[in-house]
């Protein structure tokens, strides 16, 4: 992990490229996080990638309900030679859930971004194949959102197969 000073230096570099890019930094439990504006996500990712964070380890979606903006996308970037991790984070609203896709920088972002789209409804602009990945393709709603209840989906049995919405013979 970059230390708190290293994190500020990285944030400074991102600010130098685009003054409005960085919305905040946090250093929590020895983990560095940079929050950027959704529009600046791609450029920030490119900058960090050029600085050595060349491996995209993971991509998480998160719903910050009831905080606003609700949806968050986290990219865990890894610098393998110096064993250094940084989290790049962008938050979007439910009404305008658009972030740029990072699939062309890291082809491995393909499946994780599809999962975030499937579970939270974040739309990745420029994604080559943005379809549902875990839920059925005709599924309605985004089940990992906090306001989507557990048990919000009727379980299909033989006795109720005619009555379950969306079910056709």
């Amino acid at each position: 992990m970059p230390d708190a000073t290293g994190l500020e230096l990285l944030a400074q570099d991102l600010r130098a490229a685009d003054p409005d890019a960085v919305l905040g930094t946090s250093y929590f439990r020895e983990e560095a996080t940079i929050e950027v504006a959704p529009a600046a996500l791609r450029r920030a990712a490119e900058t960090l990638r050029a600085k050595g964070y060349a491996f995209m380890a993971s991509c998480h979606g998160v719903d910050y309900y009831p905080e606003e903006p609700r949806l968050g996308v986290h990219y865990q970037l890894l610098d393998m030679p110096s064993v250094d991790r940084i989290c790049l984070k962008a938050r979007v609203t439910i009404e305008d859930p658009h972030v740029p896709s990072l699939c062309d920088l890291w082809p491995g972002a393909n499946h994780p971004e599809r999962e975030v789209y499937d579970m939270f409804g974040v739309v990745f602009d420029g994604h080559p194949d943005l379809r549902r990945i875990l839920m059925p393709e005709d599924y309605e709603g985004h089940p990992q959102r906090r306001d989507f209840p557990i048990g919000g989906e009727p379980v299909l049995f033989t006795y109720n197969e005619d009555k379950v919405p969306g079910w056709t013979r």
């Binding site: 439990r29 865990q76 491995g108 499946h111």
Partner: protein
């Protein structure tokens, strides 16, 4: 997208073809979800030209059980059993990633004895996972006897798990702050006997497979993906190490006292299926070495943190101490509260980087649990590893990629 035939048709049409001149008609066939060589419920839409694979699209989600959603509705300590059921071959690793993340949020120190006990169980689990992989993969190559040998040793590991925790699979042995109870008398000797025997057995597998003509024909120079492509796809674990990149989180960023142990990281050279087999096979020996060292140096002391706000008090205290009774009641009913924040805790599972992201909102239930499961990410390497190879090699390559669909779909 609408349901039914049109949806599937659309998926077929979304397949892109490489720009080579085609000499035969293309045929798109469906492999799975119930196909013996898919190691679970994986469906592949394969576009063939004759017997050559031109493109392949994995379709997943058939065993999606919403474990991450379920975990949000449970207290932290009750979420461990559900999280364990994701990747059903590496349950200790799932529990370790989750417990480690919660411990990070709580800033709880794990006692040295608990860390060593965790390492022993993790490495036993790694051996077990590799044995299942080797057995099932050899069935795909047409060798059923290896399966019996591997499952014989796997039973020995499961017996050890049963002895230490009472369960053979999904043991819930790890808990936040340590492990659930100390190892029983006689367990150490049984584990030592097992590691000694396991090395001999692994030698026998090598004698059976390493120079076997069929294995060499099927595995050598098939399914090659170069290191840079794998890094771009986010692939880690034995698949990456087979290309010669010695990336292993146990060495790179040691957790749970892995820095105390002396072990090697097996790597391959060209990253073909044979290298993948040899890397995993060699890892069995290294795991045996780690287990032996951990047993030699097993420290005395508590097996779980003494922080009563996190770990249950010992049973005998409940009869005499009011404090202990209150803590027990609070833990069992509400669970412990975790300071708000978000952490990511990566560990090295048998299949690569297994990361657990936990967000806490300050309550006793996690606000979000997300597993970066290595199988889910590694599955993206199927297409580059099998494109322009024979469909028989596709089966062998898929076996050597070792995806566990429980972890892919979660």
């Amino acid at each position: 997208m609408t349901a039914g035939v049109s949806g599937y048709r659309k998926q077929e049409e979304s397949i892109t073809l490489s720009g080579e001149a085609l000499t035969e008609e293309l045929m798109t066939i469906n492999m799975g979800p119930h196909h013996p060589s898919t190691h679970g419920v994986l469906r592949l839409i394969v576009t063939l030209e004759g017997e050559t694979v031109r493109d392949i699209k994995p379709v997943i989600g058939y065993v999606h059980t919403g474990i991450e959603k379920t975990a949000e509705d449970k207290a932290y300590w009750k979420a461990i059993p559900v999280v364990e059921r994701m990747d059903y071959l590496s349950y200790y690793f799932n529990a370790m990633a989750f417990c480690g993340a919660v411990e990070k949020l709580l800033e709880v120190d794990v006692p040295p004895r608990a860390q060593y006990l965790r390492v022993i169980h993790l490495e036993l689990n790694r051996i077990m996972s590799h044995l299942v992989w080797l057995g099932t993969s050899c069935i795909d190559l047409g060798a059923i006897s290896v399966w019996w040998y591997c499952f014989r040793e796997r039973e020995a590991v499961l017996d050890l798990f049963e002895m230490s925790s009472g369960q053979r699979m999904h043991t819930r042995y790890f808990q936040v702050g340590g492990v659930i109870e100390d190892i029983p008398r006689g367990w150490v000797e049984r584990v030592r006997r097992f590691t000694k025997e396991m090395r001999t057995r692994a030698d026998q597998y090598a004698a059976l497979l390493d120079k076997n003509e069929i294995v060499l024909q099927r595995l050598r120079h098939t399914g090659i993906v170069d290191e840079q492509t794998l890094l771009g796809l986010g692939v880690t674990g034995p698949l990456l190490r087979a290309t010669g990149n010695p990336w292993d989180l146990r060495k790179a960023a040691p957790y749970s006292s892995y820095e105390d142990f002396d072990f090697k990281i097996p790597v391959g050279t060209i990253g073909d299926n044979y290298d993948r087999y040899r890397v995993r096979h060699a890892e069995i020996y290294e795991s045996c070495d780690i287990i032996d060292q951990a047993l030699d140096g097993l420290p005395e002391g508590p097996f779980v943190t003494t922080d009563r706000k996190v770990a249950l008090p010992p049973r005998h205290e409940l009869a005499t101490s009011m404090e202990a009774l209150i803590h027990h009641f609070k833990l069992v009913t509400e669970g412990f509260r975790v300071p708000p924040g978000e952490v990511y805790n990566p560990i090295e599972s048998p299949r690569g980087e297994l990361g657990c992201y936990v967000r806490s909102d300050g309550s006793s239930r996690p606000a979000r649990v997300h597993m970066r499961d290595p199988s889910f990410v590694n599955l993206q390497a199927t297409a580059p590893a099998t494109r322009n190879s024979y469909i028989a090699d596709l089966v062998a390559t898929l076996a050597m990629l070792d995806p566990v669909l429980g972890g892919v779909d979660r």
